[in-house]
Subunit: 314 residues, 2 copies
């Protein structure tokens, strides 16, 4: 059995659930994460280790991580804003930490109360924690507002790449690019990921794309062209700071899996099981809008998974 061609990193339980006001009960979160893993998702960002005062929705982060790491074969990711969060996440057993660093100075101040350079220093402290730790864990960064910022508008592309190089120098395993605000276009995505690959080599990370302006999957196609093989996505498009009703924030996992499989790119995901997992969300968060075109329209007649064919890959 070959490893799937593309890794989808499901961010719904973290990015999705922290974006809505109410808290999903811990037991429902755990059931959802098990269902997502059962559908074939091999990496899930399950929680954020921030003070419960700031994000009560994530108060059960440790319990969620402790449960998720018992799922065989699943890589359990946790977002940590700082060293303190990193310590808690590692204690809970997270396999990988993801740290926020923003390319926009205005966004960095308002979101992290740090300059980008100070955020890199915080990353350095987490790398030092790993060096001193007996337990191995991954450390990755997705650079927020890499494609533009609602406060600053355009972000200098050379600066984003320089920031990525600073992060590699600080010792992280990989650096990806995040379209936090739905600003990216396919030409820019292709250009910047090519540049990232040229400068970072195998430390170039994945794409975190939003669908705020309907451009999410268009940007995926461009990123694939630039050699990106890891994509963040969220079941039902939950999270990603939607601007308006009808506009999902994160790209929808269900639609992304359909895109990739139709193109002949193996994701390892079973779409029927994935769509079934939406019921857990619908039951635990009644009234919450669930996005996605594929769940409404259904699979195409004659659809088959990339893993079930020897043609495709054209």
């Amino acid at each position: 059995m070959n490893a799937p061609a593309v890794l989808i990193s499901e961010v719904g339980p973290r990015d999705g659930l922290q974006s809505i006001t109410r808290s999903m009960p811990t037991e429902a979160k755990q059931r959802w994460i098990h269902a997502l893993a059962g559908a074939g998702l091999r990496e899930i960002e399950v929680a954020s280790f921030v003070p419960p005062k700031l994000l009560p929705q994530m108060a059960d982060a440790s319990a969620v991580v402790e449960d998720a790491i018992r799922i065989p074969g699943l890589t359990v990711l946790a977002l940590v804003p700082n060293l303190r969060g990193a310590e808690a996440a590692v204690t809970a057993g997270a396999h990988k930490l993801t740290l926020p660093v923003s390319a926009s100075r205005a966004h960095s101040q308002s979101n992290l109360r740090k300059t980008p350079e100070e955020a890199v220093e915080e990353v350095r402290r987490v790398v030092a924690l790993r060096q001193d730790s007996s337990r191995h864990f991954g450390i990755e960064v997705g650079i927020s507002t890499a494609f533009g910022c609602t406060m600053e508008g355009r972000i200098d592309e050379a600066w984003v790449i320089r920031l990525a190089m600073m992060l590699v120098e600080a010792g992280v395993d990989s650096v990806g690019l995040s379209d936090t605000t739905g600003y990216a276009n396919p030409a820019q995505v292709k250009r910047m990921f090519r540049q990232l690959h040229a400068e970072l080599g195998d430390k170039a990370g994945g794409a975190h794309l939003h669908n705020t302006r309907g451009q999410g999957l268009a940007n995926v196609v461009a990123a694939l062209d630039a050699g990106v093989t890891t994509f963040d996505a969220s079941q039902a498009g939950l999270g990603g700071c939607p601007y308006a009703p009808g506009a999902s924030g994160n790209i929808v996992t269900e639609d992304l899996v359909f895109l990739l499989e139709s193109m002949g790119l193996d994701t390892g995901v079973d779409l029927e099981a994935l769509i079934a997992a939406r019921h857990i969300l619908a039951d635990a968060l009644p009234g919450e809008p669930l996005y996605g075109h594929l769940p409404d329209a259904g699979l195409t007649k004659g659809f088959h998974y990339a893993r079930d064919t020897h043609e495709a890959h054209s």
Copy 2:
């Protein structure tokens, strides 16, 4: 002033309005078409010349065409299912006719009550009409179900290209490919349009893509890569046989313009004027769902049109 890099052929007044049950008043249709042209759209498919018994929404096709051809610089397109419709459309003054030919035999029978070969014969009769006519008009075909069919599933790609060659041989000006059912994926779109260009040269036509499964703009990116420069789209995503609430059928003109302009591709369209034209729809068809992410999220800070820059095109 250079000609825009990409031509958007707006199909809302035809494809959109024939897909909804009620009829939009003629005066409102005319106002809408003027507003769309005023926003910079240079080609609009304004009506379908089918018997009013079958499509009462299109009973005013002649009046709509007669009004639209008075708009300076606008190419007025009409869909005609057969010779009789073509005669009526030409009499009304349409600049260009588009004829339906379906690659799927099952779809062709159920939609046109003809085999694909019989549909080509009907096209031939319309070409003969032009040869005998004192008035010049364009004739184009978009091959329906070119990427798959809800009845037949997969459609043989070589057959689609052969059908396109038969249509060129029959004398049409251009042949495009239509994803009538939302089956296309970017790998397939790129492969088939490359093949179409290789076989048809400058008679290769545009892409008519649907967003049924959320893949519309992803397929646009692939088509651009294959050299396609004409795209059908519909304001507010109206039409295109939506399967389910929440799923627009046609790709949304507003989101397409944003995609192209962000990539540095000039469309000639003004997004604010285009978005303002939605009010005419909302007023004339109250309650009708209007799709599109850009109208909700708004333009990005620092956005500029391709025509206003000398950088872009990267």
